[in-house]
């Protein structure tokens, strides 16, 4: 039995999403929505049905929704689509999909507090620059620590100080835990990814409130109103919508249940592991993430031992080779190197049980004790 506590990496598919996906991987459901015949029309209808469901959940008009190949593509489209129009700002704790896009566009990163929230004074100073930014990108909830950003206040400041700037938010980690329509209401661009909330991998969406404000970066056959060319991933899009529909319905109960599990997990580990420190303030975080820094151990070794003990965990950050690296998020938060080396992210989701938490409460302290006692 494996205790899967890496839902922030990917969460198991919801049965409803699996059914919806498989319907378009079947003998009948294979059409290309761009065609002009009955098979194509069936596929087109599935995409447009999905668009309505997803747009409604995100508080957007169907015409403002662009389906993509996932969160990374959505983030790239948002940043690259604004880079011709002026400087770009983002927080220093963004996911690499935003951070690297902003770097590639020659943009600037903003400081965060020790609690992981954007430093609003730094934001104000940057907005006051001679050339106003074209885009400010601040994530809804952080993928490593789970810290939620004060997006309303950030958007308010941007509107006052730099009215021509658009605001993008990477909401990839937020959808399970907060109502995306209200959490991202003021943002001009919103990224989501299906596999983080029970849909299939490789499909996502970007809300674009004002299409004229975003340059097209994926050219081709003109799908998605010319904003993202390429044959639709019909099965994936159907699965994304089905998963989101379930999450919308169950969110309240899910958040309550998972928050209790997470609190029991985090409190238990903080009690049983001397020196362990929780990252960020609990009240700022989404329900599904328990992030600790454990002095005297290395994440890589800890995760290896947890894997052997049947607990799937993460350090929260990895490079292309699969190697663990000290997280830029923790660095930006000013977490001391010695603590950041022992980062552990246990992320919970809709399938997490008391048994999973019990397994981690047993395995993590044992692994830490072993690593600390090793010669």
């Amino acid at each position: 039995m494996v205790a899967y506590l890496d839902h922030a990496a990917t969460t198991p598919m919801r049965p409803e999403a699996r059914r919806a996906t498989l319907a378009f991987m079947s003998e009948a459901g294979f059409g290309n929505p761009s065609g002009a015949h009955s098979v194509a029309r069936a596929a087109r209808r599935a995409v447009e049905d999905a668009r309505e469901v997803v747009a409604a959940a995100l508080g957007a008009e169907p015409s403002q929704l662009v389906f993509t190949a996932g969160g990374t593509e959505s983030d790239n489209m948002a940043v690259a689509g604004r880079s011709s129009r002026g400087p770009i700002l983002c927080s220093g704790v963004e996911h690499d999909a935003v951070l690297e896009s902003v770097r590639a566009a020659g943009g600037t990163t903003l400081r965060v507090s020790r609690d992981g929230q954007l430093d609003l004074d730094d934001l104000k100073a940057a907005l006051g620059a001679e050339v106003p930014p074209s885009l400010v990108s601040v994530m809804t909830a952080n993928n490593e620590t789970g810290v939620v950003q004060p997006l309303d206040r950030i958007i308010g400041i941007v509107r006052r100080k730099a009215p021509s700037a658009l605001v993008h938010t990477d909401a990839v980690q937020a959808v399970n835990w907060v109502d995306p329509a209200s959490a991202t209401a003021g943002a001009d661009l919103v990224s989501i990814s299906a596999h983080k909330f029970g849909g299939p991998q490789g499909v996502g969406a970007l809300v674009v409130r004002n299409p004229a404000g975003l340059d097209v970066t994926v050219h081709g056959g003109g799908q998605e109103a010319g904003r993202r060319s390429g044959t639709h991933n019909v099965a994936g899009i159907a699965g994304l919508a089905a998963a989101l529909a379930v999450v919308q319905e169950e969110r309240e109960a899910l958040v309550k249940r998972v928050a209790d599990l997470r609190d029991r997990l985090a409190d238990g580990l903080l009690t049983s592991i001397p020196g362990a420190v929780e990252t960020g303030r609990r009240e700022d975080k989404v329900a599904g993430i328990c992030h600790l820094c454990i002095p005297g151990v290395e994440s890589e070794a800890l995760i290896f031992l947890l894997d052997q003990a049947g607990v799937c965990a993460s350090a929260g950050s990895a490079c292309a080779s699969g190697a663990t690296q000290v997280s830029h998020v923790l660095r930006a938060m000013g977490v001391p190197e010695e603590l950041a080396r022992g980062a552990l992210r246990l992320s919970l989701g809709w399938t997490t049980t008391d048994g999973d938490v019990d397994a981690a409460l047993e395995a993590v302290p044992a692994a830490v004790a072993r690593l600390r006692s090793a010669p």
């Binding site: 070794a301 699969g322 190697a323 663990t324 010669p375």
Partner: protein, 358 residues
């Protein structure tokens, strides 16, 4: 046994892991991520990690990646750069073995509950009659890598498995081909993994330290014989860029002193020597008290004649130790060994220890 196999993504370590799994050991593969910069192949590009991972998939064993890049920078790259700054010619592969593969990686393995580590080096670990673990040349003389392991001691050798040491390189490749491993035809790694063939040592060091011009000074006369653009890039024994003497005979770098900005140069016969001065020894089996190996003791102790190997691909040269072990006396003169290079001492095919030339 539970064995952690260090897998570089090359053919030797692939076959090493395969053989151990066949022998019934519980094998886990691990690739060390050492270098984030550009690399020709070395051991740490993403594609090498992918190769190692795919081989593990084929063998049905788990694969992990350990990020030791900070340790690599601290113990290998940094000292390599510093050594060049001070006119030494370091051997980064040996320092990597000393500080990373057989220290950091071995410690990690023991910490995680493994009994031993394995690598794909062409060398052998054998039990000596006195119970010590002996490090012995690999069966394929042309591919023998015992020299780069010569700094190991009992603490490492007792926990080290070298399964391809009994095979020739051709046999290793044939075995990889037979198993359909994707690394079967992969070229051998070359030279220093963190220096690319295209940019080279000059660009690498030039990015990290200030390079200074130097004077070429004739050893015999003290006369200035020319200049070099970057004294930090000159190695003892180097001929390229050193020019010729007044008689037209080729000159070689005899010694390098970056502090004074001088390279002493001279003809080949002045480069030849039968003495290598060395720092303290590390002994594989430590039968001789450190730093006080009387040559008589050593010779009597081992039935095989003593020899020294002065570079990774060098031939063994008959040798004895003098001056409390701080001097290696060679039976035949050879080209001077640059300070910073490793000298490995053998009795027959067995490695006795290693020291760094000063």
């Amino acid at each position: 046994m539970r064995v952690l196999a260090a897998m570089s993504g090359g053919v030797d370590s692939s076959v090493a892991a395969a053989l151990l799994a066949d022998q019934g050991h519980q094998v886990v593969g691990a690739t060390m991520k050492l270098w984030g910069g550009p690399s020709d192949s070395g051991c740490c590009s993403v594609s090498d990690v992918d190769d190692a991972r795919r081989v593990c998939h084929q063998l049905g064993i788990d694969h992990h990646v350990f990020n030791f890049s900070e340790d690599f920078e601290r113990h290998v790259v940094g000292p390599y750069v510093d050594a060049h700054r001070t006119g030494l010619t370091p051997n980064p592969c040996i320092e990597c073995n000393r500080h990373i593969k057989f220290d950091r990686f071995l410690d990690r393995a023991l910490q995680l509950g493994f009994d031993a580590v394995a690598t794909g080096h062409h060398a052998r670990v054998e039990a000596r009659p006195d119970g010590a673990a002996a490090l012995v040349r690999g069966r394929d003389g042309a591919k023998d890598q015992s020299y780069v392991l010569s700094m190991l001691g009992q603490a490492q050798l007792r926990r080290l498995l070298l399964p391809v040491g009994e095979m020739t390189k051709a046999e290793v490749r044939a075995e990889a081909t037979r198993r359909g491993l994707r690394t079967a035809a992969k070229p051998d790694s070359q030279d220093v993994c963190f220096i690319t063939a295209s940019a080279g040592r000059t660009a690498f060091l030039g990015d990290r330290i200030e390079l200074h011009p130097g004077l070429l000074v004739e050893a015999a006369t003290g006369a200035t014989a020319g200049t070099v653009e970057a004294i930090e890039l000159v190695t003892v024994g180097q001929r390229r860029g050193i020019g010729a003497g007044p008689d037209g005979r080729r000159h070689y770098a005899l010694s390098v002193d970056p502090g004074a900005g001088r390279v002493t140069v001279g003809p080949l016969e002045e480069l030849m020597t039968d003495v290598v001065e060395v720092g303290p020894w590390t002994w594989t089996a430590g039968p001789v008290a450190p730093d006080t190996p009387a040559s008589a003791q050593l010779s009597a102790q081992f039935s095989a004649p003593l020899s020294a190997q002065l570079s990774a691909h060098g031939r063994p040269l008959a040798a004895r130790l003098e001056s409390e072990g701080r001097r290696v006396r060679l039976a035949q003169p050879t080209r001077r060994v640059a300070a910073g290079q490793t000298v490995a001492l053998y009795a027959g095919d067995e490695v006795l220890g290693s020291a760094v030339a000063v």
